[in-house]
């Protein structure tokens, strides 16, 4: 899963590189258009188009019946009932294409989240780094240290939380750059990337040991070997919102609106009944 995720990340990085320096809305628009088309195609071939059309026609017919027979309470209630029932059927018909879409769109959203979801640290900002350890005995006495490269400084001594097997540091950034911080535990060394930049970049929030969901959701760095005393290293980047028409909007909402827009706009071209 990690290999797959990393491969997708590589392709995605290449794609995003072509938008280097542009406002994120441009790359978001293109991604939304492409996924809109892809999802349309998946939807077309994985859904029961004839049934979907039939159910939607039935809903529309009942909707029109309410308007046409507006003096009849019987028609009003029966048609409303038909519409609610047909809506459930419509939702059920959408489950199959939904299943087929979950995987590709899920993988895509993971990648997008690294680009659009967080911003790199800026020089002068503080960083919280959290290392989760395996069983190292008494954590308070364990030999744990952090080594940072030039450009980054350690601002606080390690804060140990034995109940969570966690060790936390606060770091400070001095200048832009792609850094690698090193954590030493019981003679072992484990690294984690750290980005200090004023541009949009792919960010790795977590380096983790093997695990299905972590491998799927955090594919940015090599997996920590299972023999390591470190289970994960997490860097807390700040969430970021996308500026659209003067509003700060979460990127997933922008993606939702744009991908739906492209999907609906192109459904006629691809002859898909949604």
């Amino acid at each position: 899963m990690t290999t797959l995720s990393n491969s997708i990340a590589f392709v995605f990085d290449l794609f995003m590189w072509s938008f280097n320096g542009l406002h994120p809305i441009w790359s978001m628009t293109v991604i939304s258009a492409l996924t809109g088309v892809l999802m349309l195609i998946i939807y077309k071939y994985t859904s029961n188009q004839a049934e979907i059309r039939k159910v939607k026609d039935w809903i529309k017919a009942n909707f029109l019946a309410i308007i046409l027979y507006k003096d009849s309470l019987k028609v009003l209630f029966s048609s409303t009932g038909h519409i609610f029932r047909a809506n459930l059927r419509y939702m059920r018909l959408n489950l199959v294409p939904l299943l087929f879409m979950i995987v590709p769109v899920g993988l895509l959203i993971v990648q997008m989240n690294f680009w659009y979801g967080y911003k790199p640290f800026e020089p002068g900002e503080s960083i919280l780094v959290k290392a989760t350890l395996a069983n190292v005995g008494d954590l308070m006495k364990a030999e744990v240290s952090l080594v940072v490269p030039e450009g980054v400084e350690i601002q606080t001594p390690p804060l140990r939380i034995p109940n969570n097997s966690e060790v936390n540091w606060r770091l400070g950034t001095k200048q832009k750059g792609h850094y690698e911080i090193k954590i030493h535990v019981g003679g072992q060394e484990m690294t984690k990337t750290l980005v200090v930049s004023d541009r949009m970049e792919r960010l790795s929030l977590l380096r983790h040991a093997s695990g299905f969901w972590d491998g799927l959701l955090y594919p940015g760095e090599r997996v920590i070997p299972s023999s390591s005393l470190v289970r994960s290293i997490e860097v807390h980047y700040q969430p970021v919102f996308m500026g659209v028409l003067g509003w700060d909007v979460h990127w997933i909402i922008v993606y939702f609106v744009l991908s739906i827009f492209f999907g609906l706009a192109l459904k006629g071209v691809f002859r898909v009944h949604i």
Binding site: L64, D71, S72, N87, M91, F100, Y255, F256, I260, I274
Partner: protein, 697 residues
């Protein structure tokens, strides 16, 4: 989808739901589409339902205020009228006597069964106009299918004028219409459902002839007879054939030659004229057909479908691109009739798509759309059953019957939906099935019919009896849906008689010196070779004769007054009792009426033909006469499949009238139905109606 597949899907969904570490708020456009669509429908439904509920008490109060007087007088809560066009009382009686029409028999026992006096002439557009207005033709202005333009002597549709937009903008090869096409209803007077609407009574009116273009009123109406096809005609089929010399126009259709190479046929579907092009060209859609035995796959640019020889496709939606991003949408059925050495394919006239009508075919416009969403595409053409295709032997008897019953099934669904939803007012539905099948299969009731010469007389000998029994079954199913307070009328506009011999009135006028032809004699259609400067009378339509009247016709020569009266009297005297020497000197024409005799007291009498011909049983205007051809022979055998007709002396073809209530007198007339309906539902009868209520007590 098998049960195992369904279970697997649910299992996967459950695993994802319960094991996913972080539930994504959104999993892409697919989910979004479903969510948005569903949400939209639910929200829209909620608001429309809420709004309807909120305003319902006000509407109820307003309607009650308007109806309170009529409610007190009404003897029926709902009136259901089913029109079975052309159902013949003698045939019905015969089958009832044999016990083959149990539902009609029960209805007659419960209420009444009588012959219903039809209009003069006994033609559907005339009779149904009289039915809905309660008037004779001089008050509703419909005298035939066709009228004529006195300036050009060319035939025109009597019920509606359909013309292009008056102004256009010419840009390059395009002439863009600046406005809607002009569509005008030529039928005058007021249908009784409009009167009911004025009293707050809601009506559902389905496919009653001469209701196009639809008029506004308190109710729903789907137009019937005279709704054109996408070409603007009253029905033009197309026939694609690999046989040589297949190209050209034929009556009621177009023949198109196609090439069959190995097992592939390519060609273009012929569509409507391009209304935005300055060139006189038809729109078309390319097709490719791959043949495999008796099966074929038809590939159009935007879809493909399977065909099996001798079976109709479902309605296929066709989009013709006119340019400038304008598309014209229609529906048609396809049928392959030959797949051996040669290839033949019939395509029905292209009906207006009720889901996207090029112009209004219903009131309100949404009613046609509603039915389309409810039932899928359905026949919208006025004369939806392609009688010409059978007449021209493009399709066979069985294919025609299949087509008619497919249309009939659609109509039944419309009626049953109306019966379910409109429980308090008027429901009217006219079925054309009875008329069309009798027109085309009456030959089987006459073993000596010329159309059966050297043909199999047995295969469809029972078609008409089967038709009548099906109608009886329909009546039974309708009755099951009626409740207390419902009254029921089953009627036909006229009956039916055999049509074995054709009479060409124009040929008779020519041979008797009333019509003069130019050099070249009998040439051309639509009286194109007539010397109007020396012609005194001419026939257009199925029963009308016109004088070439000075001051009315462009080249009129008959002076009003004495000359007019004398000429009429002369023609009437000669034609009444006209004998057919080729058929044992049988009488071909019972009588001819002067219009002033039969059309009295109406403002539109001046538009009537000057004389109306009442043919004898077995006779009708010949095919040549109907198409304005002058021939050397006045009489000819009718060898077409169209072998039954009603364009005869109206006294010979009364319709039927079954009612669930007792009548107050014998000899009801078609103009009595509208006043009867008004009386049953409690409104007064307007003074313009000439008919009288038939309700006893």
């Amino acid at each position: 989808m098998t049960k195992l597949q369904k279970k697997t899907i649910w299992l996967v969904l459950a695993i994802i739901f319960f094991t996913c570490k972080e539930a994504f708020a959104y999993i892409g456009p697919g989910a979004g589409f479903a969510f948005i669509s569903s949400f939209f429908f639910l929200i829209a439904t909620f608001f429309v339902a809420l709004f309807s509920l909120l305003i319902w008490p006000i509407r109820f109060l307003v309607t009650w205020m308007r109806r309170r007087k009529v409610l007190a007088r009404a003897s029926a809560k709902r009136l259901v009228i089913v029109g079975l066009d052309g159902l013949d009382p003698d045939l019905v009686q015969g089958l009832m006597d044999k016990g083959k029409m149990p539902n009609f028999t029960k209805l007659a026992q419960q209420g009444s069964f009588q012959k219903l006096g039809t209009s003069c002439p006994a033609l559907s557009p005339v009779a149904w106009s009289s039915f809905m207005t309660g008037c004779n033709p001089a008050r509703h202005n419909i005298y035939d299918f066709l009228s004529r333009d006195p300036q050009t002597y060319l035939p025109t549709l009597s019920s509606a004028h359909i013309g292009p937009s008056k102004r256009t903008l010419k840009v390059g090869k395009y002439a863009i219409p600046l406005g809607k096409p002009s569509i005008k209803l030529l039928r005058k007077s007021k249908p009784f459902w409009r009167v009911l609407g004025e009293h707050g009574i809601f009506s559902t009116v389905i496919r009653v002839p001469i209701t196009f273009p639809p008029e506004r009123f308190n109710g729903l109406l789907l137009s019937g007879m005279c709704v054109p096809d996408l070409r603007g005609s009253q029905g033009t089929f197309s026939f694609y054939s690999s046989r040589e010399a297949a190209e050209g126009e034929t009556t009621g259709g177009i023949r198109i030659a196609v090439k069959k190479q190995s097992n592939v046929v390519r060609g273009h579907l012929v569509g409507p004229p391009n209304s935005i092009s300055q060139r006189n060209e038809d729109l078309s859609i390319p097709f490719e057909i791959s043949l495999s035995g008796e099966k074929a796959r038809v590939v159009l640019p935007d879809q493909s479908f399977e065909l099996k020889k001798g079976q109709y496709s479902p309605w296929i939606r066709l989009s013709f691109k006119a340019g400038l991003k304008i598309t014209v949408q229609g529906i048609a059925r396809f049928m392959i009739t030959e797949t051996g050495q040669e290839f033949n394919m019939y395509v029905s006239p292209i009906h207006i798509d009720p889901g996207k009508p090029a112009f209004a075919i219903s009131h309100p416009r949404a009613y046609a759309l509603y039915l389309s969403k409810l039932l899928g595409p359905y026949a919208t053409l006025g004369l939806a059953e392609d009688t010409w295709a059978l007449n021209e032997e493009i399709i066979n008897d069985q294919a025609f019957l299949d087509q008619v019953y497919l249309n009939h099934a659609e109509r039944e669904k419309m009626l049953f939906d109306a019966l379910e939803k409109n429980r308090n007012g008027l429901v009217v539905c006219v079925f054309d099935t009875t008329d069309r099948i009798q027109h085309m299969f009456f030959r089987y009731l006459n073993p000596h019919h010329p159309a059966l010469k050297d043909k199999d007389r047995t295969e469809h000998a029972g078609a008409i009896e089967d038709l009548y029994r099906r109608m009886d079954n329909l009546i039974g199913r309708i009755k099951e849906r009626l409740g207390d307070g419902d009254e029921f009328i089953v009627m036909s506009d006229h009956g039916f008689k055999d049509f074995s011999r054709g009479v060409n009135i124009n040929s008779w006028l020519w041979s008797n010196g009333y019509m003069v032809l130019k050099e070249g004699g009998c040439e051309g259609m639509w009286l194109s070779n007539v010397d109007w400067s020396r012609t005194r009378a001419y026939a257009i339509g199925l029963t009308g004769i016109y004088l070439n009247f000075k001051g009315r016709e462009a080249h009129g020569i008959v002076e009003p007054g004495q000359e007019e009266a004398a000429l009429k009297a002369e023609i009437i005297a000669k034609l009444s009792g006209l004998k057919d020497d080729g058929n044992g000197s049988g009488v071909a024409i019972n009588r001819v009426w002067d219009r002033s005799e039969i059309y009295r007291g109406g403002p539109y009498q001046k538009n009537a033909p000057d004389m109306i011909v009442g043919y004898n049983e077995g006779y009708r205007a010949s095919w040549d006469c109907a198409q304005g051809r002058v021939t050397n022979e006045v009489f000819e055998d009718n060898i077409k499949a169209w072998s039954g007709d009603h364009c005869v002396d109206p006294a010979m073809v009364p319709g039927v009238l079954f009612t669930s209530f007792k009548l107050n007198r014998d000899s009801p007339r078609i103009i009595d139905i509208a006043p009867t309906a008004l009386a049953l539902l409690g409104t007064g009868i307007p003074a313009y109606m000439e008919g009288k209520s038939l309700i006893a007590n």
